[in-house]
């Protein structure tokens, strides 16, 4: 009967109920989108790192953080010659990193070396670079920029010369945007230099021994990691500020859930003063009245969470449609529960004052309420 009282009340004021669901759902969507983007972007980085086919990465002395898109400081010739002769190393490839629109990074690559290391690139259309200002993009970036092979584009922060799309590859290898290595080196005034070098070893079992030997030779100033180590460092916990940001958004979710439910329920209690008086005249106790208000708040919280989850699929669709390369977003179902719990806490807190206010109503005054 409590459920019936609550549901009939929600049905009786459908616009109030829908608006409450919507207002509670928005922060849920915000939380799920933020978490989905964090997971999606990290998974995208993992996938592209794995797609290179390398076992070890060596970075310049200015790049001790895994997230640092460092400038090109490593001498390409010197280090490649060193690594290619190194025991157990079968392939070496230097790349230049150049940030463009956040969070994208263009990679300057020696294409034959990349194709050899990754086991070939899967061109969906077009092919390798034909001329200096050619660019290879993956299907996500092509969709985001709405470009096809043969089109030319200008990219902010990547010189004034237009870039011609020579090929569109299957995503998941190294970067969303590739340009010829010497062109990017010149553009960055770093001729003959690279930002990082990928190494492939003859047997993955030898990876750690090679890393140890390289560290001994290069010294601690040069970060040398296995690709496995590098991808494991790409986590929500290791990204400065991200966790705090997620906590802030969760806090916002609690506050909004609290405020919306408190306001909605307070209005509802005011509107239903007479009904509360009727229930009291029938012998409804304070606990009974409080239970009805709390149950209604919980339904608003659950409905808002459900709507928020549905809207997060909408957000994912929008992101995949408009910025699939820049903002890969995942749906993370475990966070449905977390966002739901956050919302219910907010809704529960928000229902306390209206609930107590309703429970304390004097039945005679409530019955006389017009």
């Amino acid at each position: 009967m409590t459920a019936k009282l609550v549901i009939e009340n929600l049905k009786h004021k459908p616009m109030r109920s829908l608006l409450s669901f919507l207002l509670i759902g928005v922060p849920v969507t915000l939380i799920l989108t933020l978490v989905g983007l964090s997971h999606g972007m990290l998974e995208d980085s993992h996938e592209r790192a794995r797609g290179i086919g390398a076992d070890i990465i060596v970075r310049g002395t200015n790049a001790n953080s895994v997230l640092n898109a460092s400038g090109a400081t490593l001498s390409e010739k010197k280090f490649l010659e060193l690594f290619e002769k190194w025991p157990h190393v079968t392939q070496a490839m230097g790349v230049v990193l150049h940030p463009i629109e956040f969070p994208l990074i263009v990679n300057g690559v020696d294409l034959p070396r990349l194709m050899a290391m990754s086991g070939d690139l899967h061109f969906l259309s077009g092919g390798p670079f034909q001329q200096p200002n050619d660019m290879i993009v993956d299907q996500y970036y092509a969709a985001q920029k709405k470009v096809k092979v043969g089109d030319t584009i200008h990219i902010t922060g990547l010189g004034s010369t237009p870039w011609r799309i020579s090929g569109i590859i299957q995503g998941g290898i190294l970067a969303h945007v590739l340009v010829p290595l010497p062109v990017l080196q010149d553009l960055d005034s770093a001729t003959g230099k690279v930002s990082q070098i990928y190494l492939k070893v003859d047997d993955p079992k030898n990876t750690q021994s090679v890393i140890a030997a390289l560290k001994e030779k290069l010294g601690s100033a040069y970060p040398v990691w296995s690709l496995e180590e590098m991808t494991s460092m790409l986590s929500v916990n290791n990204i400065q500020g991200l966790k705090a940001f997620i906590y802030v958004i969760m806090g916002v979710g609690v506050v909004i859930g609290f405020a919306v439910v408190c306001l909605s329920m307070y209005m509802s209690v005011l509107q239903r003063t007479r009904e509360i008086g009727i229930l009291k005249s029938l012998g409804g106790s304070k606990a009974f009245i409080l239970r009805i208000i709390l149950a209604e708040a919980m339904i608003l919280g659950l409905g808002g969470t459900t709507l928020g989850v549905i809207m997060s699929f909408g957000a994912q669709w929008l992101i995949r449609t408009f910025v699939p390369a820049s903002l890969p977003m995942q749906i993370v179902p475990i966070w449905w529960l977390i966002a739901g719990a956050i919302t219910l806490v907010g809704a529960g807190l928000g229902s306390v004052y209206p609930g107590l206010s309703a429970a304390r109503h004097d039945p005679i005054e409530a019955l006389a309420y017009e």
């Binding site: 009967m1 019936k4 009282l5 009939e8 009340n9 049905k11 009786h12 007479r274 009904e275 008086g277 009727i278 229930l279 009291k280 005249s281 029938l282 012998g283 409804g284 106790s285 304070k286 009974f288 004097d362 039945p363 005679i364 019955l367």
Partner: protein, 229 residues
């Protein structure tokens, strides 16, 4: 206090003072009243005479300021708010002038909610089903109040008030919002209920014709009983 041979209500020296701002407003100024079980008692008097306050105290909606009020062997001057709430569950049933049905629920659910609050089975007993037929509302139970006439709403309210078989039915101007035909029907229902089941009924009314349906009439003025007939 002596139980007085079957008195279901015994009131001695009842006073009730309301605080309005900084002013004390006496609503009842020493009421004495005995009501025997099975009585249909009409209470008449002008507005402000204290009739409704007397009802509210007998029905456990508000505590007395002083005096003794014994209802179905419970002294309401000594019980807590929670005990008065329990009294309203089973011992008394209310019928109001404005019907006071829950607008979001069907007539059936309005009756069921009274049983639910009293902790009883949601399905009323066969005797009650027969009562619904006598009230002439068995075909209207799945309608919400806004789809019912005033007379039908008041009959639903009567059904809700008696569904838990209360010792006392308190009817506060039950015909105040009804036309003559429906008023008569409701009054006859109350009289019939009293005759068939021995239901104790206290009814407030302004209307002398309505008051005549009761066995006895009590006249109130200025917070006191001034006449009994």
């Amino acid at each position: 206090m002596n139980n007085g041979g079957g008195d279901i209500i015994q009131i001695r020296g009842l006073r009730k003072v309301y605080r309005v701002g900084d002013v004390d407003v006496p609503a009842l100024r020493g009421v004495d009243l005995d009501v025997k079980r099975g009585t249909f008692l009409s209470i008449v008097g002008p507005s402000g005479s204290g009739k409704s306050t007397l009802f509210h105290i007998i029905g456990g909606l508000t505590p007395p300021t002083s005096g003794e009020v014994r209802v179905a062997d419970q002294d309401l001057s000594k019980v807590s708010d929670a005990e008065r709430t329990r009294l309203r569950k089973r011992t008394v049933g209310f019928v109001f002038q404005k019907f006071n049905l829950l607008p979001n629920l069907t007539a059936r659910d309005n009756i069921a909610v009274a049983r639910y609050i009293a902790g009883m089975d949601s399905k009323p007993d066969p005797e009650f089903e027969e009562m619904l037929r006598l009230l002439g509302i068995e075909q209207r139970l799945d309608h919400k109040p806004n789809a019912l006439s005033g007379g039908e709403q008041q009959r639903i309210a009567i059904a809700r008030a008696i569904v838990n078989r209360p010792a006392i039915l308190l009817a506060d101007e039950p015909t105040g919002n009804l036309d003559t035909e429906n008023s008569k029907a409701v009054l006859e229902i109350l009289r019939d209920l009293n005759r068939r089941t021995g239901q104790t009924i206290l009814m407030i009314t302004h209307n002398p014709e309505a008051a005549a349906y009761g066995h006895n009439t009590v006249h109130m003025r200025d917070g006191q009983i001034i006449d009994r007939s």
